[in-house]
Symmetry: C2
Subunit: 224 residues, 2 copies
C-alpha cells in the first residue's frame, strides 16, 4: 500500500501540530527553506497560546494558529479535534506532522488523515512509549537509546516505523544530556522521513514501512 | 554495588549453560584461548544431549555435561535445577553464562549466583523479550535491531543491561539475514561483557550497570 504517491511536480503541503519549544518544527522549516524537502509548510497549529513553536512559525512567515484544546488534559475535545482537522483541510494539508504535540489524537482526526500523520518519538520504539521517554531509557539503564519517526495510528507511539536512529548512552550521561543528543538525531531523522514521504518513496507492507530506492531522481542532476 | 571485584591476579572461573548450536559458547571459548578475556571455562552444561554446544566444549578440552531437564518444557525441574547449581559450585564457577539456554532459571539458582549470571539476547531490550526476538523485531518493522548482554534476574530478559549493540535493518532483510547479522554482534558483545566482568569493571547502581574506565591496566603494558 502506498503511503505517498510517486514523485511530484509540485510541493507537498505540510501542517504541523506543536505544543512546545518547536525545535523539530524549526528543523522542518529550515529544510523546506533549503529545499532539502520538496514541501511547503502551510500552517502550524498549537493547543498552547504561549508555545514557542507559534513564534517560530510567525518568524518564518508561516500562518500560526492557537486553537484552545477544551476541557481535557491529554486530548482535544471532540468538536475541537474536528476544528483542527478542518483547519488543516482548509489549507489543503496533505501530510500532518506532530512536533511535540502533547495530546493524543482520536478516530475522526486519524481517519481524516489516514497514514498521513507522522510523529517523532525520543526512543527506539517499541521501547519506552509515552512521556519522558529519554528519562525512562536512562533509568532502565539501556546502553543504546535513540529516536523513531512513525506513522500515527490509534496506539500511542505504536504506529508503523519509518526511520530510527541509535544514540549510545555514555557513562557520564544524565537524562538531560542524553535527551539533548537524541534531539539532534530527531531533527535529522524527521527531516529525512518527511523528505522520503514527499519523494513518494514510502510503502506500507502490513505494519512494515518499505523505503524505495531513489530511482525517481532526475537523471539530469536536478534531484536532491 | 560491585558486580565484579577489582582486577584479579588469577583467572575468573566460568560455567556455560547451553541448549543449541553454541556459537556464542564458541566465541567465549575462543576469547579465553586468545586471552582476550582473563578467564578459564570450567564446564559446559546442557539440557539437550545432542546440543552442538557440548561437542564444541569437548573439542576444546572442556568438561561437557548433559543433565536431563526433567518433565517441564520451559524450565528445569526444581531438584534438577539444584543439580545444575551444584555442578557449577563443585567446579568453583564464579560467573555463569547462558548461551542459548532455552529454560528459565528460578529463585534458588538465581540466589546461588546472585548478579553472577549473564545472558545474551538478540534484541535491544526492553523491546522484544522472549523467543524469536529477531523475527518479532522484523515483523514489528523496526529500523534498528540489535542485541543485549544483561544480568539475569527473575524477570525474563528483564535484568540490568551490561552492553548493547545496534544493528540496522536493511530493506532486503529477512528474519534470517537479520538474525545472522545480529549474531555477529552477539559474539562481540558477549566477549566484551565477560571481559569487563573479569576485569572487575562492572558496578550496579540501582538497575543501571556502570562500566568503570580501565584504570587497572598494567602501566608496564601488560594489560589487555
Amino acid at each position: 500500500m502506498a503511503v505517498s504517491g510517486g514523485r511530484r511536480a509540485r510541493d507537498v503541503v505540510l501542517g504541523v501540530l506543536a505544543s512546545g519549544r518547536g525545535t523539530n518544527l524549526q528543523a522542518i522549516i529550515d529544510a523546506t527553506i533549503s529545499r532539502q524537502i520538496p514541501a511547503r509548510l502551510a500552517v502550524v497549529l498549537s493547543d498552547r497560546e504561549d508555545a514557542k513553536a507559534l513564534e517560530r512559525a510567525r518568524e518564518a512567515g508561516i500562518e500560526a494558529l492557537h486553537i484552545p484544546p477544551g476541557r481535557f488534559k491529554t486530548k482535544l475535545e471532540p468538536e475541537i479535534e474536528l476544528k483542527y482537522a478542518q483547519a488543516l483541510k482548509d489549507r489543503n494539508v496533505e501530510l500532518v506532522l506532530l512536533a511535540g504535540f502533547m495530546r493524543v489524537l482520536h478516530g475522526n482526526f486519524l481517519s481524516a488523515f489516514h497514514n498521513r500523520i507522522m510523529n517523532i518519538h525520543p526512543s527506539l520504539l517499541p521501547s519506552f512509549p509515552g512521556l519522558k521517554a529519554q528519562t525512562q531509557a536512562w533509568e532502565y539503564g539501556v546502553k543504546i537509546a535513540g529516536c523513531s519517526v512513525h506513522l500515527v495510528n490509534d496506539m500511542v507511539d505504536g504506529g508503523p516505523i519509518i526511520l530510527q536512529a541509535a544514540v549510545p548512552v555514555t557513562e557520564d550521561d544524565t537524562p538531560d544530556t542524553l535527551a539533548d543528543r537524541i534531539l539532534k538525531e530527531e531533527h535529522r531523522c524527521y527531516v529525512e522521513a518527511v523528505r522520503l514521504y514527499c519523494e513518494g518513496r514510502l510503502r506500507l507492507d502490513g505494519r512494515r514501512v518499505r523505503v524505495l530506492a531513489d530511482h525517481g531522481a532526475d537523471p539530469a542532476g536536478g534531484g536532491g
